[in-house]
């Protein structure tokens, strides 16, 4: 059993060394990987380019393999263009919603994506990073640093809890993706390491208990829309943390609570398609239709 990582420990180190959490993470991870910092950042920038391409694929309005999702990212794109004055959440978050849906739909239709942390939750990080980058005017290098912060957060969650829906429910997939994105958002906006920790804690707290209940066992319903929800949760938490709001429960304890909730969760709610939306009358109907197609 590997030793559990601690996000607070990294945050404290960054604060002591008077570094941004991004700079601390780059140095720490480069050392861990025995890799040049520049090379590490370049690898992250390559990931960002793949993510950009996933958005492009998604926005062509493709249909998924199971036929349950597709075209919704494009709908938001059109709504943004034609009804900007009617946006409920404003331009930045509406862009995040569009990107999350587009990448989720690209994934569901066998497009190329970056599993970050998983394929099912691959829409959340690009949604938050790219929508904030536009307003912040962030460079690819800054976004790459954001991705390293996100990765470091994901490593801690993986070591203390889980990143897999089968092991911990959707809180472990979309919840973790959102927590990683929230930390990256705080970094992009110049927040302190402590604020990164609070953003992660607040996000996970707001998504605690989310179950993994995919209709017909496919990464389509409700996964794609949940990525949009996760992106929004990340932005809500980042906003609170940047305003100086603290999580009452320390971040590592929140992650441990997520692990405990995941363990207590019934197996029917952990990616087995035996509970939640998967066994709703419509969920069952859709599953039967899809399986009948397989039999024929």
């Amino acid at each position: 059993m590997e030793e559990k990582l601690s996000l607070q420990e990294w945050i404290d180190l960054a604060e002591t060394e008077n570094k941004t959490f991004g700079n601390f993470c780059i140095e720490f991870q480069a050392k861990e990987l025995e890799m040049d910092k520049r090379v590490l950042l370049e690898r992250m920038e390559e990931m960002l380019h793949v993510m950009e391409q996933s958005v492009v694929i998604g926005l062509t309005g493709i249909t998924s393999m199971g036929g349950l999702v597709g075209g919704n990212g494009k709908k938001v794109e059109t709504y943004r263009a034609e009804s900007a004055d009617k946006s409920v959440v404003g331009s930045v978050m509406s862009k995040a919603i569009m990107i999350a849906l587009a990448v989720g739909e690209a994934n569901a239709s066998m497009g190329r994506i970056v599993a970050a942390p998983t394929a099912g939750a691959s829409g959340t990080l690009p949604a938050v990073l790219f929508s904030l980058a536009e307003t912040r005017g962030s460079s690819m290098e800054e976004l790459g640093k954001g991705l390293i912060v996100a990765g470091a957060i994901g490593m801690v969650i993986a070591s203390r809890a889980s990143l897999s829906g089968a092991a911990g429910g959707c809180q472990a997939e979309c919840g973790s993706a959102a927590a990683m994105a929230a930390g990256a958002a705080v970094e992009l906006y110049g927040g302190s390491p402590e604020q990164v920790g609070h953003a992660v804690a607040i996000t996970l707290k707001n998504m605690l208990g989310l179950v993994c209940d995919p209709v017909a066992g496919l990464v389509e319903v409700p996964c794609v829309k949940r990525n949009a929800g996760a992106a929004a949760q990340a932005m809500v938490a980042a906003e609170m943390a940047l305003a100086g709001i603290c999580s009452v429960i320390p971040v590592d304890e929140v992650i441990d609570a997520m692990a405990a909730v995941g363990n207590a969760m019934s197996c029917t709610l952990k990616e087995t398609a035996q509970g939640g939306l998967a066994v709703s009358p419509t969920g069952i109907l859709l599953a039967n239709k899809l399986f009948a197609k397989v039999e024929s």
Binding site: E32, A116, G154, G217, L218, V219
Partner: protein
């Protein structure tokens, strides 16, 4: 675990277990066959059998058998490419028993030179896979290391001769397992190593006493 396990891999969706893992299982089956595939019958078990079309598992397995990587954008069109290359691939659903992992698959393969093999494996999450059976021998390896698989007579010294060849070549054994069906009968051994095994060592091992056949399993 490192940061690229969290931010990555780059893959063709929609599922690391049902798509990326399926490509890797195809890659491993191809490596075990040791030559290009001419005919493949692929049996899908459990969740693979139920949801393979919606996850593109069939396309991914076919891509894997053609040696493609998990992020190859041709994966959705892998059937067309198989057809062009005159590779016959057929799918069926099978029941490998309750004890088998829900994402299990069995390949019955015939190669371009007429070699045959049967490979069973499972996709165990996050794109990681394990091969559980080769030609009716229970085995267990992940393909994350270079490996050799021997079929040999269960005789004293048969194993030591193989490992001594490896040691003289400076190849370190990471994991090894030996399986036999009955005492003194045919046995199988899988040796996973830290360094790749070169042609010279591979040929010498094939000529050792008691060795009936040897296969090298090397993924890129």
């Amino acid at each position: 675990m490192n940061i690229f396990d969290v931010i990555g891999p780059v893959m063709i969706g929609p599922s690391s277990s049902h798509t990326a893992g399926a490509v890797r299982l195809g890659n491993l089956a191809l490596a075990i066959l040791g030559e290009g595939v001419k005919e493949a019958v692929i049996g899908l078990h459990g969740s693979f059998a139920q949801t393979y079309r919606g996850h593109g598992t069939d396309l991914a397995l076919s891509a894997g058998l053609q040696g493609w990587a998990t992020d190859d954008i041709r994966i959705p069109k892998s059937f067309d490419s198989a057809k062009e290359a005159e590779i016959e691939i057929a799918f069926t659903t099978i029941n490998l028993g309750d004890l088998s992992h829900p994402n299990s698959v069995r390949f019955w393969l015939t190669g371009v030179n007429g070699n045959k093999c049967t490979v069973t494996g499972a996709s165990i999450g996050g794109g990681r896979v394990v091969v559980t059976n080769i030609d009716d021998f229970p085995v267990e390896f992940s393909g994350e290391f270079p490996a050799i698989l021997t079929m040999h007579r269960d005789r004293p010294g048969a194993i030591a001769l193989v490992t001594s060849i490896l040691s003289t070549q400076g190849v370190n054994v990471a994991q090894m397992k030996v399986f036999r069906k009955q005492k003194g009968g045919l046995a199988a051994m899988i040796v996973e190593t830290d360094q790749p095994i070169d042609n010279a060592a591979f040929e010498v091992i094939g000529k050792l006493p008691h060795i009936q056949s040897v296969r090298r399993i090397q993924l890129v």
